[in-house]
Amino acid sequence: MSSKNGLFDLADVTKVPTQFNHAPVTASDRPLRSNSRLERVLRSGRFAVTSEIHAPDSADPADLYKNALVLSEVCDGINATDGSGAHCHMSSLACSTLMLNAGYEPIFQMGCRDRNRIAMQGDLLGAAALGVKNVLCLTGDDVTAGDQPEAKRVFDFDCMHLLRTARIMRDRGIFLSGRELESAPKFFLGAASNPFVPPFDWRALRLAKKIEAGADFIQTQYCYDIPRFEKFMQQVQEQGLHEKVFILVGVGPLRSAKGALFMRNNVPGVWIPDEVIERLEQAPKGKAAEEGKKICIEIIQQVREMVGVHGVHIMAYRQEKTVAEIVERSGLLSRRSRDQLNGRSRRVSAPAEAVAV
């Protein structure tokens, strides 16, 4: 709407409110890891948005691209899940590579459930060779969570070991056996954190351990409990962890009270307080999904104001369009011109809809 003859109109860029979310990171604070797009966004001090793609049950890349296209318009990085919920889908490395070649910014998720240490180091090296720059190291759901609970679980390493391994390969250029790599991989390393389940006192200290192991950024589990998250962030700030790692808060829309209850009872590690479920129940008939989106937007707006929060990670299984809607409505795009980042001209987003908090 703003381009004339396909050229980008600078006047529109100046209208975009530019505001740092946090102070830009200098090389003396933290060295540059992989120079991935996600890393550049976070280092620049802008509020980052990531999401995750549901890996298709398909041998056709087109099934992946159609979801990636929707997300890429609103995200700085897209997680390629690694057999999420212990269900088989297209492999995360394949998804990452396909997305990368099509111009998207993937975050390669690697879990410990399906690989031993030999496979992990090989996959890390292979991922780097294919051009993957962001790796998220996870423990992974147990096999019993999936539809093939008869499988053998591996768990040779835990996520801390995986993180440290990736870090050793990157920073020292060796395998764990000591054998040297001809060329060391460059990774921006991520880890997960779940402040919403016990033991609560330990969660921030465990985050410190993950940073020690090599985490450059953190994506948290779904946040629906703001008071609990505030307590966690207070501990994080007391230890100064938010100055050592980028923290992206996990959020997501709930579709109904019934769905929320199901998630709370059946999805490992998801905590949804009663107040949220009550709000969904009280929503007028047929409007529960809308209420769910509203709750999600409110949570985004609340965590955005917290010191030490560097972005959000929006998770919505098979609802890519809803993710795009939430990003637009929460006003995250209007904080910056994404075009400078993407290196291509794109329309400047519509004014954000104000949502009462």
Binding site: P31, C112, R113, R117, T139, D141, D142, T144, A145, K152, R153, V154, F155, D156, F157, D158, C159, M160, H161, R164, R167, I168, D171, R172, I174, F175, L176, S177, G178, R179, A192, S193, N194, V197, P198, P199, D201, W202, L205, R206, K209, E212, A213, G214, Q221, R264, P268, G269, W271
Partner: protein, 178 residues
């Protein structure tokens, strides 16, 4: 290990007296220090008389005693005093560095809903410990799977369990290299 079945795991929690003992980690700390001192003195002597008997005796001893109290899985590299006197190999995911993100709201395990999370218990017990309580914050290196079913005491006295992987570079060294 992954071979653990549900009934085995549940059984681990029900040995008479074992829960009481684990819930009094200060007693176990004294027992640990005592055993270490005594066995460290005895080991060279026993080893001189008969290395094969010593090995058998130590393994049997660990299987029976630690098996009863901690449901020991014989990983051969015991870190009980660093994990609130709760065996981390009882965690279905074999985690060595703390709980996963799947812990249930009631503090039970994601995989075995009837079992309290090993790491929730480990954390609570470590808070009651004196000398080794804060060791739970230490970074534990990967498990050496080749040591399975060997004696953790012998591995400790011989320095085998602490022999790191060649490439397992310390964090201090990693940070210096940047």
């Amino acid at each position: 290990m992954s071979e653990l079945t549900r009934p085995q795991m549940a059984e681990a929690q029900r040995k008479p007296g074992s829960e009481w003992l684990k819930n009094h980690p200060r007693i176990l700390e004294v027992v640990y220090d005592g055993s270490k001192t005594i066995l460290k003195l005895m080991y060279p002597l026993m080893n001189r008389i008969s290395p094969s008997f010593t090995k058998k005796f130590m393994i049997w001893n660990e299987e029976v005693v630690k098996g009863y109290v901690f449901n020991c899985q014989m990983c051969g590299q015991c870190i009980l005093h660093s994990t609130g006197m709760t065996c981390p190999m009882n965690c279905p995911k074999n985690l060595r560095n703390g709980p996963c993100g799947g812990v249930r709201a009631n503090g039970n395990c994601e995989v075995i809903p009837d079992m309290p999370c090993v790491w929730v218990q480990a954390w609570e017990r470590s808070r009651d410990m004196g000398a080794y309580g804060d060791d739970i914050l230490l970074f534990q290196p990967p498990v050496n799977r080749a040591l399975k079913d060997s004696s953790a005491w012998i591995n400790m006295f011989e320095g085998i369990d602490e022999k790191p992987l060649v490439g397992w570079v310390s964090v201090a060294e990693l940070e210096g290299s940047l």
